[in-house]
Symmetry: C2
Subunit: 154 residues, 2 copies
């Protein structure tokens, strides 16, 4: 607010070609992502989870038998960071580990019935949150947005 009455001098000799923070797509990407994360986090409280742990659970439910390393590749996270998340999900009885019959290094993860229910409830809640988040976007715009975003990271 207020221009502060031109404090002393300078004021930068006009920067016409120089882009500002608001011109960067990444800035809006970040701001939008933060708003989404906050809403998603609130939505996931209903199933006592958080965005990343919930994404991991969803992976297991959507791909029964997936390994931890595979989940990391799918979600783009470090193997070291999934360990405590899996420990928590396992303790809650949301999935089970089963040794791979051919490769003893690998543990194959299978969702329990409870895990499937929690994942379904979570997705439902997050979808409801997105309905609010994207309320000012038409169906076409939502699809276009998702398409453009996927193009960036995939």
């Amino acid at each position: 607010m207020r221009e502060a009455m031109a404090p002393k001098a300078e004021k930068t000799t006009a920067t016409p070609a120089l882009p500002g923070l608001d011109d960067l797509v990444g800035y809006h990407l970040r701001r939008a992502s933060i708003v989404d994360l906050q809403g998603a986090s609130a939505a996931l409280e209903a199933v006592r989870s958080r965005p990343v742990p919930f994404s991991v659970l969803s992976c297991i439910v959507e791909r029964p038998g997936i390994s931890a390393a595979e989940i990391c590749r799918v979600l783009g996270m470090q193997r070291a960071n999934i360990v405590s998340i899996l420990a928590e999900l396992e303790e809650r009885g949301l999935f089970l580990r089963e040794a791979d019959s051919r490769d003893n290094r690998i543990q194959r993860l299978f969702p329990t019935r409870h895990g499937q229910d929690v994942a379904a409830q979570g997705i439902e809640r997050v979808a409801q949150h997105e309905e609010v988040l994207l309320q000012h976007l038409s169906v076409e715009e939502r699809h276009e947005l998702r398409r453009l975003l996927a193009k960036i990271w995939q």
Copy 2:
């Protein structure tokens, strides 16, 4: 494949209405944002900064005389979290604090010449990074993406 004989509920009895992780706009928002942040962080190493501190500096450069609390409102961050960031930027001589003449609670922040240079160099680097990030998007798509993202958080 193998229809007829009415299957008795096996292997995911078709989940048509249930959205998966990949259907959530927020999922792609997050993934895209992470990729962008990584690139932006790398780009900002050239000016020894990071996304958030750089955003704060940009705010000061773009709005000379802004206060810390105002920056927090602009960037959507907590007042408590800007303190150490300002301390670092100040120590590097990127801006100066000046007591407000009317309200002694407020410190008005003004960029130094060096601060302006660093901000300009940083923006340039980040813009170059975005050129790579958005290389597969047309100019129209980039503008549409930014418009849709701004619609979400603004």
